[in-house]
């Protein structure tokens, strides 16, 4: 079983990202359970979502406390939330940031790091800092756990509030291509 925790701010689409990834992983033949964290969600406030997948059916519907992978949709979030809490020490980090790896205060021992200037890409595609689909592309590039085709398929049945499907397909592609993997 592989466990992922999404961190974002209300309005950036962290919960929707977890739903799209769930659909994409099912396309890849996986079993999935995803739930949002339940708290005081509002626009701009820190939010989280959880997703676990496996080749076998999954029974438990619980929050994720020791994720193998963290996806952070907002570069300012690590200043206000301990996004690494409980993380598998050899886990994977996928983060929206234009900074260089050396300029970030990252935990030691991470097995893989993917960095992507998702804000920059989002502003050029959507004109707004909505980073969820971009960071799914970044996740695909960093981990290889899911294909772009499956992500695009996963987005087909999603009702996007802020932009059309084609823009999100473009966002996934650019997130994939413009991720620096360490």
């Amino acid at each position: 079983m592989y466990e992922i925790r999404f961190h974002g701010r209300g309005g950036q689409g962290a919960v929707l990202a977890s739903k799209i990834l769930a659909k994409a992983l099912v396309e890849e033949g996986k079993h999935v359970k995803a739930i949002p964290a339940f708290g005081f969600e509002r626009r701009g406030a820190p939010v989280a979502a959880f997703l676990r997948y496996d080749d076998q059916p999954i029974r438990k519907v619980t929050n994720i406390y020791n994720p193998d992978c963290i996806i952070c949709l907002d570069p300012t979030l690590p200043n206000s939330v301990d996004i690494y809490q409980g993380m598998n020490p050899n886990g994977v980090l996928v983060m929206a940031t234009k900074k260089d790896k050396k300029a970030l205060n990252l935990p030691k021992g991470l097995s893989k790091i993917g960095l992507c200037d998702a804000f920059g890409i989002a502003l050029s595609i959507f004109g707004r800092p909505i980073t969820n689909s971009i960071m799914l592309g970044s996740l695909a590039r960093t981990t290889g756990m899911v294909s772009l085709e499956a992500l695009n398929k996963g987005m087909e049945s999603v009702a996007f509030r802020d932009a059309a499907l084609d823009k999100n397909v473009e966002a996934v592609r650019r997130g994939y291509e413009e991720t620096r993997v360490y």
């Binding site: 769930a22 099912v26 079993h31 999935v32 359970k33 739930i35 438990k60 519907v61 619980t62």
Partner: protein, 400 residues
């Protein structure tokens, strides 16, 4: 071919509604039910559900409208929770003795105050004695399937009672998983003839008084009132067999077999068992498996049908163990324990031997019930076998 979709429990419920082909739905949104109301409304707008949608001003009107529709022969659906259910209570109380086979999802939510919008079974548990059938789901797939088969139970000639399909707010309402959506033709075959109001009808061609003043201490009042009450109680008991039959038929036709009343999980060779209800059960089964690997002889009893209470099935399951730990997601204020615990005690009275039981309360107001919590449930319940009896109830999230 059945279609595979990936959706949350609220969307799954709406798909179930679409396959059951209601004539009228009425909804009023309330967290965490809101997206279910939105999906149903969207499906009506898109023609996926071919029903009249009544967009009314509150839950009291929702159920009043559906009572009228059902009396006129319509198959009906709605969903609510928490304060919405509280506001609905007057027509809610009246629906079972009117013998109206309305199906309503309760997307369970904890009670206020303190103010909260998160999951918990306090709402559904609080109305457990009103006469609605209550089934609690464990997975998103089970939500979809149970919404459909609930109509077969509700509309059965020997039952004719409303059904609540309960799914946990947050954990199932927003929990996303892979779900199989059965074909409409297959569901049509399963559903058969609609049977909503053979017993009572608003029909200008054959006028009748619906629900005239009944009872009192004179004339045939007392006896007539007793007849009505006995009829409702009998119908509830009849529902036990019907629920079993309908689940079996569903399993045979669609390949998904659910324990209709009570599921026994790893009770063979078990010294003691957990009793669970709803979405906590998945993690509890994982915890049982982990304990079994350590040589701990624990099993699990999951209640699906809570009303009518499945007494015989519970006796059968409980008789296989020597102690039980009952996990509730709500509170019985009057008993300082959980309601499922109290019901389990009632069932235990029927056993030849007296066995110890302990009450755990967890998952209130959206709180998580993790494998760690459930491991504690297992450890404490195991200690009962050594004669230990802790102070009760045990609040699982007290120190989270």
């Amino acid at each position: 071919m059945p279609k595979t979709i990936v959706c949350d429990g609220n969307e799954a419920a709406a798909w179930g509604v679409s396959r059951a082909k209601p004539d009228m739905v009425a909804v009023y949104p309330i967290t965490p039910q809101s997206s279910l109301a939105e999906y149903v409304s969207q499906f009506v707008a898109d023609g996926i559900i071919d029903a009249d949608l009544m967009d009314v001003e509150g839950e009291h009107s929702v159920l009043s409208v559906l009572q009228g529709a059902c009396l006129a022969g319509a198959r009906t659906f709605t969903a609510t929770c928490g304060q919405g259910l509280a506001f609905m209570f007057e027509p809610y109380f009246r629906t079972p003795p009117l013998r109206l086979p309305i199906v309503m999802s309760i997307v369970t939510r904890d009670g206020i105050t303190p103010q909260c919008v998160w999951g918990g079974q306090q709402d559904a548990m609080t109305v457990r004695e009103v006469g609605w059938i209550q089934m609690y789901c464990e997975t998103v797939q089970e939500v979809l399937d149970t919404v459909i088969l609930a109509y077969r139970v509700a509309e059965h000639r020997d039952v004719m009672l409303p059904v609540n399909v309960c799914h946990d707010g947050n954990y199932l309402s927003y929990g996303v998983e892979k779900v199989e959506l059965p074909d409409q033709e297959d569901v049509d075959r399963f559903m058969g003839e609609k049977n909503t109001n053979w017993h009572v009808a608003l029909d200008p061609e054959r006028p009748m008084g619906v629900d005239p003043l009944t009872g009192g201490a004179t004339g045939n009042g007392p006896a007539l009132f007793v007849r009505y009450r006995k009829g409702s109680c009998k119908a509830m008991q009849n529902a036990l067999q019907v629920i079993c039959d309908v689940h079996r038929e569903w399993g045979e036709q669609f390949g998904r077999h659910y324990a209709p009343l009570v599921e026994e999980y790893r009770l063979d060779g078990a010294d003691f068992a957990l009793v669970t209800i709803g979405s906590m059960t998945g993690a509890a089964k994982d915890a049982v498996d982990a304990a079994r690997e350590q040589g701990v002889k624990v099993g699990l009893i999951k209640i699906k049908t809570f009303r009518p209470f499945p007494l015989e099935a519970m006796i059968q399951a409980l008789s296989k163990v020597k102690a039980v730990g009952v996990v509730d997601r709500s509170v019985s204020f009057g008993w300082n324990s959980g309601p499922v615990y109290q019901e389990t005690l009632s069932a235990l009275y029927h056993l030849k031997e007296r066995i110890p039981a302990v009450s755990f309360i967890g998952g209130l107001a959206g709180a998580d019930i993790t494998e760690t919590h459930l491991q504690r449930v297992i450890d404490v319940t195991a200690s009962l076998l050594q004669g230990h009896m802790p102070a009760q109830p045990i609040w699982l999230n007290e120190n989270d």
